[in-house]
C-alpha cells in the first residue's frame, strides 16, 4: 500500500506552518512533538502508521474554517479525525499533512423530544447520544460495535451501520441535519429537523464520503422511542447452508427482525471461550435473531421464527426469557473481535457485502482460500443484510501481514464476483483503495472524483484514501469534443 509521495516543500515549511496554526488555535491545541503525535499515528487499522506534520485540535467552527483556508492556500493536506476507530485507515495521517482532530467538539447541543431530534457536535460518541436521551426512553438506532468509542462525525463519514440496521437503517437513514466546513472556509448547513432536501441531497452525498469532501462540525440525528420489549433467539444449525436458508425464509415470511446475525464454527468457539454466552458448540452455524416491539408482537414472531428454523433443520433453539439473558446472548457476538484477538496474535477484519443467497458458496470458497493462503479465518456476519465480517488470523511478527492482505483481497474480489461490494460499513479508506478498480470503471471513479473537485478543487482533504489513482481536477474536467451531424439515423424521431 503506497501513500502519495510527501511534498518536500511542505515538509520544509513545517515550523512556519506550526507557528501559523498556533495563531489560529492558541494554547495546547497544536501538537507538534513526536511523543504527542504518536497517539495519532494510526486509527483502528493499526497495520498502517504514519506520524503527521502536526496535530491540530480546534474548539470552534471559526478556527476550523481558518485552518482549512490556511491549509488550502499553503498546499497542506488535511486528514480529519474523530475518535480514530476507523477500520479502513480513513484517519491514517500523511507525512506532509495535518491531523484535524474533532475531539473537543464533544457537546450535546440540543435535545428536542417534540421533534424526536438531537443536535450534537461531531465528537460526541454514538453511545453518548443514546445515553443523553435514555432517561426519556429514547435511543439513536445505528449501533456499530465500537459505539462506546466511535464519534458521530466518524459515523457520518463512514455511513456506519451496526447490528440493528436491517430494520432501522444505517447512519444515512437516521440523519436530519449536518453542518460542514469546506476547504474554502465556507460553512454550509444542510437539513435541520425536517425531512429531505429542497435541492440536491448533499447530506446523502456527505454520508459515507470518508472525510474527502468537507469537515463535519455539527450533526442532527433522529431518535426513536425504545421498543416495549426485545427478545433474542439463539438457533444452532448443522451447516451454514441451513442457517442461510433459514434467514431467507424468515425474510420471505415478511419478518424484518431488529437484528439477525450469523457466526461460523470458529467464531462460535472463540466467543464462547471468551464470554460463556451459552452458545451451542456442536453447531456449524449460529443465528442470533432479535425481535423487538410490543410483547404480543415479539411472542408471535418468535413462534414463527421457531417454526421456520425447525423446518430448516435447526439443532437447537433458545429464546431469551429476560433482559439479562438477551444481553448475554449478544455479549458473545459483540465480543467476537476481542475473542478472536485472544486466539491469534493479530487479526484483520474484512467487510464485504454479498447477496445473502450466495452465502454458502462464498463460505465454501473462503475455506479454500484459507487453505491456499495457509491462514485461519473466522466469520461473523450481519446475515439479514449480507454484510460479512471475515476475521483473518495472522501473526505480523511471523511476517504474515502480506499473506493476510492477499487473502483479504481475494475475499473481497470474491464478494464482488458474486454481485456484492468491497465494504458494507467500514469504508474504503486506504485498506480497500487499490481494489476499487475491481468494482468501478475508470469513468465511474473519474465521476466520483469530479464530485470531490466541486468541494475541494485542490485535492487537500484526505488524499490517498478511497481513490487508487489521484488526478488533478483540471485533468478530470477536460472535455472531449467531436463535433458533427446528429448521428444514428436508426434512432426513432418524432
Amino acid at each position: 500500500m503506497q501513500m502519495p509521495e510527501p511534498d518536500a516543500s511542505i515538509l520544509a515549511r513545517r515550523s512556519e506552518l506550526i507557528t501559523a496554526l498556533r495563531k489560529i488555535v492558541p494554547g495546547d491545541g497544536v501538537i507538534a512533538d513526536d511523543a504527542g503525535m504518536r497517539v495519532y499515528e494510526s486509527d483502528g487499522l493499526p497495520a498502517y502508521r504514519q506520524i503527521p506534520l502536526a496535530v491540530v485540535l480546534p474548539d470552534t467552527v471559526a478556527q476550523i474554517a481558518d485552518i482549512l483556508r490556511l491549509c488550502d492556500e499553503w498546499g497542506v493536506k488535511v486528514v480529519p479525525r474523530g475518535a480514530g476507530t476507523s477500520l479502513s485507515g480513513g484517519a491514517l495521517p500523511l507525512a506532509d499533512g495535518i491531523i484535524l482532530g474533532l475531539g473537543k467538539f464533544n457537546k450535546v447541543l440540543e435535545i428536542d423530544y417534540d421533534n424526536r431530534a438531537v443536535r450534537v457536535q461531531p465528537g460526541v460518541t454514538n453511545l453518548g447520544i443514546s445515553q443523553a436521551v435514555d432517561g426519556e426512553g429514547f435511543y439513536y438506532a445505528p449501533d456499530p460495535s465500537s459505539q462506546i468509542a466511535c464519534s458521530i462525525g466518524g459515523n457520518v463519514a463512514e455511513n456506519a451501520g451496526g447490528v440493528h440496521c436491517l430494520k432501522y437503517g444505517v447512519t444515512t437513514n437516521n440523519l436530519l441535519g449536518l453542518e460542514m466546513v469546506l476547504l474554502s472556509g465556507e460553512v454550509i448547513r444542510l437539513g435541520g429537523k425536517h425531512l429531505d432536501s429542497g435541492g440536491y441531497d448533499l447530506m446523502g452525498l456527505l454520508t459515507g464520503s470518508e472525510g474527502l469532501l468537507g469537515v463535519i462540525t455539527e450533526v442532527t440525528v433522529r431518535i426513536l422511542k425504545k421498543p416495549e420489549t426485545a427478545r433474542a433467539v439463539l438457533i444452532g444449525f448443522p451447516s451454514s447452508e441451513a442457517a442461510g436458508t433459514c434467514v431467507a425464509e424468515v425474510i420471505g415470511a415478511g419478518i424484518i427482525p431488529g437484528g439477525m446475525e450469523m457466526m461460523d464454527r470458529a467464531a462460535i468457539h472463540a466467543a464462547e471461550e471468551f464470554c460463556r454466552a451459552g452458545y451451542p458448540l456442536e453447531a456449524e452455524a449460529l443465528l442470533i435473531v432479535e425481535l423487538d416491539g410490543p410483547g404480543p408482537e415479539v411472542d408471535h414472531l418468535i413462534e414463527q421464527v421457531r417454526k421456520i428454523a425447525e423446518s430448516c433443520g435447526s439443532t437447537s433453539l433458545r429464546a431469551s426469557e429476560n433482559e439479562a439473558e438477551r444481553t448475554a446472548f449478544w455479549a458473545g457476538r459483540k465480543a467476537a473481535f476481542p475473542a478472536i484477538g485472544r486466539i491469534s496474535p493479530d487479526y484483520m477484519c474484512m467487510d464485504g457485502t454479498i447477496p445473502r443467497n450466495r452465502l454458502p458458496d462464498v463460505l465454501a470458497r473462503m475455506s479454500q482460500l484459507s487453505e491456499k493462503h495457509g491462514l485461519r479465518v473466522a466469520n461473523v456476519f450481519h446475515a439479514g443484510d449480507g454484510n460479512l465480517h471475515p476475521l483473518i488470523l495472522y501473526d505480523a511478527n511471523a511476517g504474515e501481514l502480506e499473506t493476510a492482505e492477499a487473502f483479504g483481497a481475494d475475499i473481497l474480489r470474491l464478494c464482488v464476483e458474486v454481485g456484492g461490494v468491497l465494504t458494507g460499513e467500514h469504508g474504503v479508506g486506504v485498506e480497500k483503495r487499490d481494489l476499487m478498480a475491481e468494482v468501478f470503471t475508470e469513468e465511474d471513479l473519474a465521476q466520483q472524483q469530479r464530485v470531490k473537485c466541486a468541494f475541494d478543487p485542490n485535492g487537500r482533504l484526505n488524499p490517498g484514501k478511497v481513490f487508487p489513482v489521484l488526478h488533478s481536477c483540471a485533468e478530470l474536467g477536460r472535455l472531449e469534443v467531436h463535433k458533427g451531424e446528429l448521428p444514428f439515423p436508426e434512432i426513432p424521431r418524432f
Binding site: G169, H194, D201, P294, V428, T441, G484
Partner: protein, 410 residues
C-alpha cells in the same frame, strides 16, 4: 416543439448526449412524462424519450431487491411486488390527478423527484430505497454507483445525489431499489375535533410512542369534509389520523394503545382495510386540495413542531392546507396571488428561525408563467447554491440536461 429522439438502449443515450454536448444542444429527459408540470418550464433543443429503457431485469423477493430499466412503469413494478406481498415502502404518491396527466409514472421519475408518501416518517423517502444506478452524465459518459446490496459504502453514494435532482445531473438508465414486505394488517385511528396546534401535539405524542407509527396526518374540518371515506368526510370536524401496520396481534395491541392515548383528547374512531387505504391514498395524492384547479399548490417540509405556526403564516392572505408526516409536511393551496404565495410561504419558513433551518418549500403545481417567474425549489444560501452549481457542472459541464428545470441558471 423540440424534436423527440428515442434511444433504444443506454449505449444510444450515451452517444446522443455526447453528440448533444459537442453541439451545445440542450436536452429534456422524459421517462413517462407524468411529472412534466413539476419544476420550472424548459425550452430545449431536443426531447430525449427514454421509454425504451424499461423492464424488470432482476427481482429476488427473499433478497428484498429489484432492478429495472429507469423508464419501467411504476404500476408494473408495484403489481409484481404485490404478487409477492411486497411493496416499495416509501409509498410513492400518484400525482396523476394533481397534474391532470394520464401518463404513467416511471420508477426513474419517482426516484429523480425523490417522492414519498405518508410512510416517509417510518420507512424513509425514495432516496432511502435507492441502492444502485447506471446512468449517463451530461458529459455523455456512462457510469454506475451503488449496487444491489443494502449495506454499501464503496465509493460516494451518488444514488442520494441523483434522488431529487430532476434529471439535471444525468440520465438514469437502470436503477436498483430495496423492496420490503407489505404489512399483514393495517389499522387507522381517527381523532376528531382538534385545532391545528392541538393536532400537532397529539401527533407528536403518537410519534414519540414506541408503537412504530407508519403515518400521521391532520386534516382541518373543511378539508376533511371532502374525503370520500365516510367516517372522515361525514365527521363534521377536523380529523387527525394515525396508521399502525404489522403482524395482526401487534397491530391490535398498538391500535388499542393509541385509542387509549388519543381517547383522552377527544372522540376516536377506527378505520379498517379499504377505508384506511382510501384515506391514506387521498392524503398522499393531494386529493383534498384538488377541487380548486387554479390555486398554486405548495409542499413544505418543515420542523414538525412549528407546523401549525408556519401554516397560519403562509395562509395569511387566504388559502387552505393540511398536514402529513406528523406535522412535518404541509400541503397548501393558495389562490389568487401574483407570486403564487411564494413570498408568504417562504417567509413563513424563515420567519421562525433566522438560520432558516426550519424547512423548504416547493411549488408543486402552478401555471408555467408562474413557475418561470418564481423559485419553484427552495433557493439555498449563497455558499450552498454555489456548491450545488459546481456539483451540477461536475456531471454536466455544458449544462445540457434539463436546463432550468430546478434553477434559472441551470
Amino acid at each position: 416543439m423540440a424534436e423527440t429522439l428515442k434511444p433504444r438502449d443506454a449505449a444510444q443515450v450515451a452517444e446522443l448526449l455526447t453528440w448533444a454536448g459537442a453541439e451545445d444542444k440542450t436536452v429534456e429527459l422524459v421517462g413517462g412524462g407524468s411529472k412534466a408540470g413539476l419544476g420550472r418550464p424548459m425550452d430545449t433543443d431536443y426531447r430525449l424519450d427514454l421509454s425504451a429503457l424499461d423492464g424488470v431485469s432482476l427481482y429476488e423477493p427473499e433478497e428484498l431487491v429489484l432492478r429495472a430499466g429507469a423508464a419501467t412503469p411504476l404500476g408494473q413494478i408495484q403489481a409484481m411486488l404485490a404478487q409477492q406481498r411486497q411493496q416499495l415502502a416509501f409509498e410513492p404518491p400518484d400525482f396523476g390527478d394533481l397534474y391532470q396527466n394520464l401518463q404513467e409514472q416511471t420508477i426513474g421519475g419517482v426516484l429523480s423527484a425523490n417522492l414519498a408518501g405518508p410512510r416517509r416518517i417510518k420507512a424513509g423517502a425514495a432516496r432511502d430505497h435507492f441502492l444502485g444506478l447506471e446512468a449517463v452524465s451530461g458529459r455523455g459518459q456512462a457510469f454506475k454507483s451503488g449496487g444491489r446490496v443494502v449495506k454499501n459504502v464503496t465509493g460516494y453514494d451518488l444514488c442520494k445525489l441523483m434522488a431529487g435532482s430532476f434529471g439535471t445531473l444525468a440520465a438514469l438508465t437502470e436503477v436498483t431499489v430495496k423492496v420490503l414486505p407489505a404489512a399483514e394488517k393495517v389499522r387507522t385511528v381517527l381523532l376528531f375535533g382538534q385545532d391545528d396546534a392541538a393536532a400537532i401535539l397529539a401527533m407528536s405524542q403518537a410519534a414519540a410512542s414506541p408503537h412504530e407509527i407508519s403515518a400521521l396526518a391532520h386534516l382541518p374540518g373543511p378539508i376533511a369534509a371532502r374525503s370520500a371515506v365516510s367516517y372522515v368526510g361525514g365527521a363534521g370536524a377536523a380529523v387527525t389520523a394515525v396508521r399502525i401496520e404489522g403482524p395482526e396481534p401487534s397491530v391490535l395491541h398498538r391500535t388499542a394503545a393509541l385509542r387509549r392515548q388519543w381517547g383522552t383528547l377527544g372522540a376516536v374512531e377506527e378505520l379498517h382495510g379499504h377505508n384506511s387505504a382510501a384515506l391514506w391514498r387521498e392524503i398522499a395524492n393531494v386529493a383534498p386540495l384538488l377541487p380548486d384547479a387554479e390555486a398554486a399548490i405548495w409542499k413544505l417540509s418543515a420542523t414538525p413542531s412549528l407546523g401549525a405556526g408556519i401554516m397560519a403564516a403562509a395562509l395569511a392572505s387566504g388559502g387552505e392546507g393540511y398536514y402529513d408526516w406528523a406535522g412535518g409536511l404541509l400541503w397548501l393551496s393558495i389562490p389568487g396571488q401574483d407570486d403564487g404565495g411564494a413570498a408568504l410561504v417562504r417567509g413563513a419558513l424563515t420567519g421562525t428561525d433566522a438560520r432558516a433551518d426550519t424547512g423548504h418549500a416547493t411549488l408543486m403545481r402552478g401555471p408555467a408563467a408562474l413557475r418561470e417567474r418564481i423559485d419553484v425549489f427552495q433557493p439555498g444560501a449563497p455558499a450552498l447554491a454555489a456548491l450545488s452549481a459546481r456539483i451540477k457542472d461536475s456531471f454536466d459541464p455544458r449544462r445540457i440536461l434539463n436546463p432550468g428545470r430546478m434553477y434559472g441558471a441551470y
